[in-house]
């Protein structure tokens, strides 16, 4: 069963609709006590890094998520939820992320239109490429955990994967068939 973390993220219902469409079973989780040992965890997110971490802290979910990930449970972060897997973000200096992956989320270069909004191509490590819908103002640089890259005035990580952790910078729940297939694949891989 997927635990869909509900801390008030704007794309929560879109993600729920996407899970519904692929026939995945899920429930909303609002506090640590609702997390079960056999959960796969999905962390949605849009908006501001600092505000998201504050919302997680308010619900005491930060330590619960870090603990669950360290116990080996599968955790998927979408958009801002992927950025939250990292240590820091230039969007909210001084506010720490979950720190499950090393690195800092960076601003896009100044001369480009921000947010990076619309469909862009993500190229995965196995060479497969597809179009996905993005809406982000900050980026995860290419790191050891990078699974797919996308070009917008330079390459950045559009997907990350390391052990039980996975993240998509784009919105698979808004990326038509290719996106839904990717969520379905994560559900399958996470067992």
């Amino acid at each position: 069963m997927i635990a869909l973390i509900d801390y008030g993220a704007g794309n929560l219902f879109s993600v729920a609709n996407g899970l519904g469409a692929i026939g995945a079973t899920f429930r909303f989780v609002r506090e640590p006590s609702e997390l079960r040992d056999d959960d796969k965890i999905l962390l949605p997110g849009v908006g501001h890094f600092g505000q998201m971490m504050a919302s997680l802290d308010k619900l005491n979910l930060r330590d619960a998520l870090i603990g669950a990930a360290k116990d080996g449970r599968h955790l998927l972060g979408i958009c801002l939820g992927m950025q939250a897997l990292f240590e820091w973000s230039e969007e909210a200096p001084g506010i720490s992320g979950l720190g499950l992956l090393p690195g800092t989320v960076r601003s896009l270069p100044e001369h480009c239109r921000v947010p990076h909004m619309g469909w862009n191509s993500a190229r995965f490590a196995d060479g497969e490429a597809n179009w996905f819908y993005f809406a982000n103002s900050f980026i995860v640089p290419v790191t050891a955990a990078t699974w797919a890259t996308t070009d917008y005035f330079g390459e950045f990580s559009s997907a990350v994967r390391q052990g039980n952790l996975c993240g998509f910078q784009f919105h698979p729940e808004k990326s038509s068939r290719a996106g839904l297939e990717l969520i379905a694949r994560w559900c399958q891989d996470a067992g």
Partner: protein
Amino acid sequence: MLAKRIVVCLDVANGRVVKGTNFVNLRDAGDPVELAKRYSNEGADEIVFLDINASHEVRPTILDVVSKTAREVFVPLAVGGGVRSVGDARLLLNAGADKICVNSAAVSRIDLLTELSSEFGAQATVLAIDAKNSDHGWKVYIKGGRQATDLEAANWARLGQNAGAGEILLTSMDTDGVRNGFDLNLVNAICAVTSIPVIASGGAGSAQHFVNLFTTTEASAGLAASIFHEKATSISSIKQVLNEENITVRLA
């Protein structure tokens, strides 16, 4: 590379898609959920719903349309009409909208943009601007184009961006419905003073108009409605032409 977007706009009145110009001669164009599904299958990169009757509230009929569509259509949905507060926007987002368009309400109170942006993010905050040429430059109109303001469009776009808007939906009232091409001068004027994405609207009549838009302006997207409803052309054939002109588009 980031693809140029083809956006389809569906004007909704009392739960049905309508077509017509300037709120007169409205004719029924079909069921919004079915049309959104059809356009999404044909390659629409984004769907915009505008509740053209709403003025002071987000109405239950549009919430119903959004929530039904969001369960079946998996491309971004922008919704406008009657949004005056963070609470209104939340209703739409919870129903499954991804972006909120505001026009008149932002002109009356620019802080609304800041509030929406800090609550839901700039990517969800779309400033819709209806502009019309005059002897004193492009003037901003509100209330569905029925009321002129003193605002100059480029100044207003810049103010809106600074207040927190993450995208501009720019409609030229001069070219709207004429199908003789987008208002390229207006689009260039707005793009020149902003650094957020601009969706150009008004005047699309053929694939060549989209080619002109993307080769002569920095617009991120082009929006059309009636040409698709009337099957004058299709999204996929427009994208085919754009692709042949080496303009990056998402080919389904």
